[in-house]
Structure formats: structure tokens, C-alpha cells
């Protein structure tokens, strides 16, 4: 019967293809599945262990009686084990420690470059900044003083924190024409210090080094959330995010289109700058810094607000920028400024003992 023959023919045609497809699919998926499972287990364990190491936490009931807070570990492991992200990130702040978290071989190091200078609030600023950094794994703090010599105050402070640090110093040349301790106004503050840190990085790490690293410029009076450091850890070239309290706005942020690319800047102050972003709003992959050894912050002749552009335009184009913080919709860093303390009661000769360090 021709009908049966036709049916047979169709079966013979379709069978090899179905076999092929099922076998192929299976073989591709299976190894991925086992890896994912292993990943989930490991992430869970890494979270659980520190919990037992730490002091047990419990929430005393407030007047509503909220009860115990759930750590939600299951949902986190899914986030971390997705195939297009690197396995395991961090290390949330579920534990209490005064030493920095143990160094991990897996996480890229975040090199935080902070310029600082002596003034009454310096020790306070560095203290609370250190308290923040002590929560971040694989953080290397490069503190650069604007001074002729490394001061004992900073040396002692860095030593006591227990952080992984490098202590550098370079003095911005003073403007001797003006009376008092006034630095050369043509050089924006912190520029020479940041450049020194970049040079140190280039001298210390070779281009061929496989140690992954991220470079971030953190001023000593800003406020950083811990989430920010984890966002920047996956930077491939240059990543960007919004910053609060800059440019006379609640926040400035890069403009991100539907494809997840940066195409402009949401600022009022000169949005046509090549990179209308604050120093605290971007991070650079160390490899890129090493690959372009001529890229530095421009020292002189830089218009206000163009400092960041002077470095970034030598490193990336707008198209290469990676938006973080949920496609630049969350604020993870605040450009806070500390008031200059009023010291009227010190008088001319000083009322307090200058040997007591503040």
C-alpha cells in the first residue's frame, strides 16, 4: 500500500534527526548541570561556614515584633551560579570581624587609590573609611599623602587597621607667591597623588601578569556601600554607575539605553564632557591601566570637571563602558563632604595639647 510506504518513508526521514537532536542536547547539557550543582553547594557552604564562625545574630523584637530575619541563602546561590557570571562572589556582611576577610584566590583584587592630606578631620575620615574597607575581601588600599614625608599619623593608622595597604606620598608643589599653606591652584587636588599611585601599579604589576585587578579612585570623605565593591569586581574595561550629591543634583548618572550601553550623561553641569562623571563613579580594570602606560590624569590646564575625562579618554570610548548598579538605577556611593570644624576656641596659641593626636 502506498500509504504505508509513505508513512515508513517519513519515519525513516525523521528518526535520525530526532535521535541526533536528543543525543546532542543531552551531551551538551549534562556537564553544565553537574557544574551548576557543585557551584550551588559550594556557595551555600561558603555562606554557612562564616555564620558559625561569627557571633550568633538575632533580632530583638521591635514594637511590631518582626521576628527572625531570614538570610535567604538559596536565592543568592542562584544569582552567583548563573552561567554568564563568574562563580561565587562574595561574602556578604553577615559576619563580624575586625580583621579584613581572608584573602581569596578567586576574587579579583580591588586596588583603591585614596589621596589624602593633613587637616583636623583627616584621622576621623581615614578611620571610618578603614572601617568600611575592613568588610571588603581582596581589597588593597593605596593611600597617597600630599606631603613631603609620610606622616606618623597615617603610618600608625594604616598599621593598626590590619588592611592590606601601600603607603605612598608626593607633595603637590605649593604656590609660594600666596601666603600660607596654599597649593598650586592650577593643579587640581589629588591629581599628583593619583598619578603616583597609577605609576606604582605599573611598576609593580607587569602587563603579562595574570593577577586580575580593578582600580578605583576613592576620596577620603565620600561614603561607599559594600555592594559597590562587588559591582565593580566584574569590570572588564571601565564600569560606571551613579553618584549621589554631585553636580548640584541629588545624583548624576550615566544614560543607559535598552541595549545596556552608555550613550550619554544625565547631568546639568556640562553634560557634553567626554566623560561627565565623578571620580567615584567609575572603576578601571588593572589590565587596561597596564596596557596603556601613558594614561594619566592631566596635571595642568584642566577645566573644572574635566579631570576624569582627561584619564578616561585615553582608556576607553563611550561604547566600551559597562553600566553597573542595576543599569545605573541604584545609588551605591555618595559624594559626602565633611564640614570644616570650627576651632575658634583654640585661640592664637592653641588651647589643647598639640601632642594629643586627633
Amino acid at each position: 500500500m502506498p500509504k504505508r510506504r509513505d508513512v515508513l518513508a517519513i519515519v525513516l526521514i525523521v528518526l535520525p534527526w530526532t535521535l541526533l537532536i536528543t543525543v546532542w542536547h543531552q551531551s551538551a547539557i549534562a556537564p553544565l548541570l553537574t557544574i551548576r550543582k557543585a557551584c550551588y553547594h559550594l556557595v551555600k557552604e561558603l555562606f554557612i561556614i562564616p555564620g558559625t564562625l561569627a557571633v550568633r545574630r538575632h533580632q530583638l523584637a521591635d514594637d511590631r515584633g518582626n521576628g527572625r530575619r531570614d538570610t535567604g541563602q538559596g536565592s543568592d546561590s542562584k544569582e552567583y551560579c548563573s552561567p554568564d557570571k563568574d562563580i561565587v562572589e562574595v561574602v556578604r556582611t553577615e559576619y563580624v570581624y575586625t580583621r579584613p576577610p581572608p584573602w581569596s584566590d578567586v576574587l579579583p583584587t580591588i586596588h583603591v587609590i585614596t589621596p589624602t592630606y593633613s587637616r583636623p578631620v583627616q584621622k576621623a575620615e581615614l578611620t571610618r573609611l578603614a572601617n568600611t574597607f575592613l568588610h571588603v575581601p581582596n581589597l588593597h588600599w593605596i593611600l597617597v599623602e600630599d606631603s613631603q614625608r609620610r606622616t606618623p599619623l597615617v603610618t600608625q593608622l594604616l598599621h593598626e587597621t590590619g588592611l592590606n595597604y601601600t603607603h605612598l606620598n608626593v607633595e603637590t608643589p605649593r604656590n609660594y607667591k600666596l601666603r600660607g599653606d596654599v597649593r598650586d591652584p592650577r593643579i587640581p587636588r589629588g591629581t599628583m597623588q593619583r598619578n603616583l599611585a597609577l605609576r606604582w601599579l605599573r611598576e609593580t604589576f607587569s602587563v603579562n601578569s595574570t593577577q586580575p585587578g580593578i582600580v578605583y579612585f576613592a576620596d577620603d570623605d565620600n561614603t561607599y556601600s559594600l555592594e559597590l565593591f562587588e559591582e565593580m569586581r566584574s569590570t572588564r574595561k571601565v564600569s560606571v554607575w551613579p553618584v549621589a550629591f554631585v553636580g548640584g543634583l541629588r545624583y548624576e548618572s550615566p544614560k543607559v539605553n535598552a541595549a545596556g550601553k552608555v550613550y550619554g550623561w544625565k547631568t546639568v553641569f556640562d553634560p557634553h564632557r567626554p566623560f561627565a562623571i565623578d571620580m567615584a563613579g567609575f572603576a578601571v580594570n588593572l589590565r587596561l591601566i597596564l596596557f596603556k602606560p601613558q594614561a594619566y590624569f592631566k596635571l595642568r590646564g584642566v577645566k573644572g570637571g574635566y579631570q576624569e575625562s582627561s584619564l578616561l579618554r585615553e582608556l576607553v570610548t563611550l561604547n566600551d563602558l559597562e553600566p553597573k548598579a542595576a543599569n545605573c538605577t541604584k545609588i551605591l556611593v555618595w559624594h559626602t563632604r565633611t564640614e570644616k570644624p570650627v576651632l575658634v576656641n583654640e585661640g592664637k596659641k592653641g588651647f589643647t595639647d598639640p601632642n594629643v593626636e586627633i
Binding site: C39, L46, H58, D62, T223, A244, F245, I331, E339, V356
Partner: protein
């Protein structure tokens, strides 16, 4: 017709057979995704290594630390806070400091008729042991826009609310555990070193220490002679009963519970807020000096600038203000 169909069929069969053979050969080779897999395998084995070392750390007893008592006294930190632009930033960095201190209980009291979403969500994510309270400051006592910060005492009602809660909660429990505690009033814009909290933990009645950047001076401090506070080194109104800053003392919980009427007087003249609380509790001779006999500065009275919002205000007037859904 039939011939054509047969040829087509034969052709199709041959092509599919060849394709199948080719695919089977490919599978046999274990595709080039092994590179990708190998990297993951490496990562996984590294992670396993870390896990192993962390486990080892757990098993090892810490040789350098002397055996500690099971539960050191809890430090109850009462922080008044109010909504303003820098609030989230201030609370964030304060919480990052507090997170390092063991046995710490943060009592955050909002100057608000109800708990705000910002603070509620922030506390949940903070990882700290906390109690979230709120009490609004009556309008007459509240600072208005443009008032200098020293005009009216700030945070008195909120601190009193914190004290009230402690008394209520501790009153219910009879165990000695909750009685072993220290109460510290920490404003959300100051800067605290970690050492400070360890210094105050052993407070029996009221302990004191220097505070930096306050009173118009580099620091203010109690003057200690032979282990006792004899006077106070301050440049501003030194004749107050207790010329201290709020951040310069801590009270033992026992003392707070034993004096249920001790509270901050919101109507006290400028600078007398601390004295209004301490006067009924302790005399100067009974003060316990900390911080190396009050010679080290472990806390600074920093203040944060109000961020300039000129451009934001201009945009808001045009109806083009920043997205209020983005929390700052």
C-alpha cells in the same frame, strides 16, 4: 512521478545519514566547550580548597585569645536620626563601623511620626542586631530651615524614647544577661573608632573619654589625676555640671534601670543636654576615665555638609527633577 519521489527520498536519506555520522563524530570529540568547563573546574577546585581551609580555621582553637566569658556585656547604641538628603549615607557608614563590634545592639530612633521605608529597608539589609523606633519632635522644639544647629537641642525626644524602650524591655526580663549592658548615645554623623566600643564595655556606672573636633577646639576631655576625673578641659562654658559631648560618655544599663526618671531635658539651655541626664545619675568623682586616662581621642564630632542642590531645585521648578523613585 514515482521515480522522482524515490530519488528525492534516497537523496534525503543519504544527506541525513551523512549529517548524523558527522554529528556523532563531533560528539565523540567532546566539543571545544571543554575550555570553558576547565576554567570552571579550576574555580571549583579552588573554592573547595578555600572551604577546606576555612573549616580548618574553625577547628583550630585560637591560641592567642584568653578564654572569654560566654557573652560580653552588650553595648546598646541609641542613635537619633531624621530624614534629610545625607541620611542614608550617614547611616550606611555608621553601620559599617558598628558591624565590626560584637555584642552590639543598635537602637535607631527616627524623628518621625511613623517608620520610614528608607530606614526600615536599610536596617533589614544592614546585618546588625537592631531595634527600630520612632517618635516625632514637637514642632516648637524642632529646628526650622535656616536655624543654626545649636539653637535647639536635637534628638532629646528620640534618646528618651530609646531609654524608655530599654527600661520597658529590661523591666520585663529578670535575667542578669540583659542587665549586663552599656548604653551609648551615638549621633549618626560622628566618627567612631572600633577601640572606643571596647573601652566602654567595662563601664560600671558612667565612663568618660575625650571627644575630638568639638566645643570649638581640637578636642575636649576630662582631666584625670590619680585615676579620677578632677575637672574638664573645655573652652566653652566649663562651668556646666558635665561639660561633655553626647559622644563622650557611656552609662551602664544597670544605672539606667535603677534611675527610671533620668532623661534628657529638651528645654535645657544650650550645652546642658548631657548634664540634664547625667546630673541625677552620677557625681564627677564617680566617673570612670577611659581611653588611656583620657589622653587618646577615639571619637570625633564630625559634621557632614549639606549637599548643594541648586541645580536640582532649578530642575524641580521646571518639573524636570531627578527620579524620586531612585533612593538617595
Amino acid at each position: 512521478m514515482r521515480l522522482k519521489l524515490k530519488t528525492v527520498f534516497v537523496l534525503y536519506f543519504t544527506v541525513s545519514l551523512l549529517g548524523l555520522i558527522y554529528a556523532l563524530m563531533q560528539l565523540g570529540q567532546r566539543c571545544d566547550c571543554t575550555e570553558h568547563d576547565a576554567a570552571r573546574d579550576r574555580t571549583i577546585s579552588r573554592l573547595r580548597g578555600e572551604l577546606h581551609s576555612l573549616r580548618e580555621q574553625m577547628k583550630k582553637p585560637e591560641p592567642t585569645n584568653p578564654p572569654k566569658p560566654a557573652l560580653p556585656p552588650t553595648i546598646h547604641v541609641i542613635t537619633p536620626t531624621y530624614t534629610r538628603l545625607v541620611q542614608k549615607a550617614e547611616l550606611t557608614r555608621l553601620s559599617q563601623t558598628l558591624l565590626h563590634v560584637r555584642q552590639l545592639h543598635w537602637i535607631l530612633v527616627e524623628d518621625s511620626p511613623h517608620k520610614t521605608v528608607l530606614v526600615s529597608e536599610f536596617l533589614v539589609r544592614s546585618g546588625l542586631t537592631y531595634t527600630h523606633l520612632h517618635v516625632p519632635t514637637p514642632r516648637e522644639s524642632k529646628l526650622q530651615e535656616g536655624d543654626p544647629s545649636w539653637l535647639k537641642p536635637r534628638g532629646a525626644e528620640q534618646r528618651n524614647e530609646g531609654l524608655r524602650w530599654l527600661r520597658e524591655t529590661a523591666g520585663g526580663r529578670q535575667g542578669a544577661q540583659l542587665e549586663e549592658g552599656v548604653v551609648y548615645f551615638a549621633d549618626d554623623d560622628n566618627t567612631y573608632s572600633l577601640q572606643l566600643f571596647e573601652e566602654m564595655r567595662g563601664t560600671q556606672m558612667v565612663s568618660v573619654w575625650p571627644v575630638g573636633l568639638v566645643g570649638g577646639m581640637r578636642y575636649e576631655r576630662p582631666v584625670v589625676e590619680q585615676g579620677r576625673v578632677v575637672r574638664f578641659h573645655t573652652g566653652w562654658r566649663p562651668n556646666r555640671p558635665f561639660p561633655l559631648d553626647m559622644a563622650g560618655f557611656a552609662v551602664s544599663l544597670r544605672l539606667v534601670l535603677a534611675n527610671p526618671d533620668a532623661h534628657f531635658d529638651g528645654d535645657a539651655p544650650m550645652g546642658f543636654l548631657e548634664s540634664s541626664f547625667l546630673q541625677g545619675l552620677v557625681t564627677m568623682e564617680e566617673l570612670e576615665p577611659k581611653a588611656d586616662m583620657c589622653t587618646k581621642v577615639l571619637v570625633w564630632h564630625t559634621r557632614t555638609e549639606k549637599p548643594k542642590m541648586k541645580r536640582e531645585d532649578a530642575l524641580q521648578k521646571q518639573g524636570l527633577g531627578s527620579d524620586p523613585g531612585v533612593e538617595v
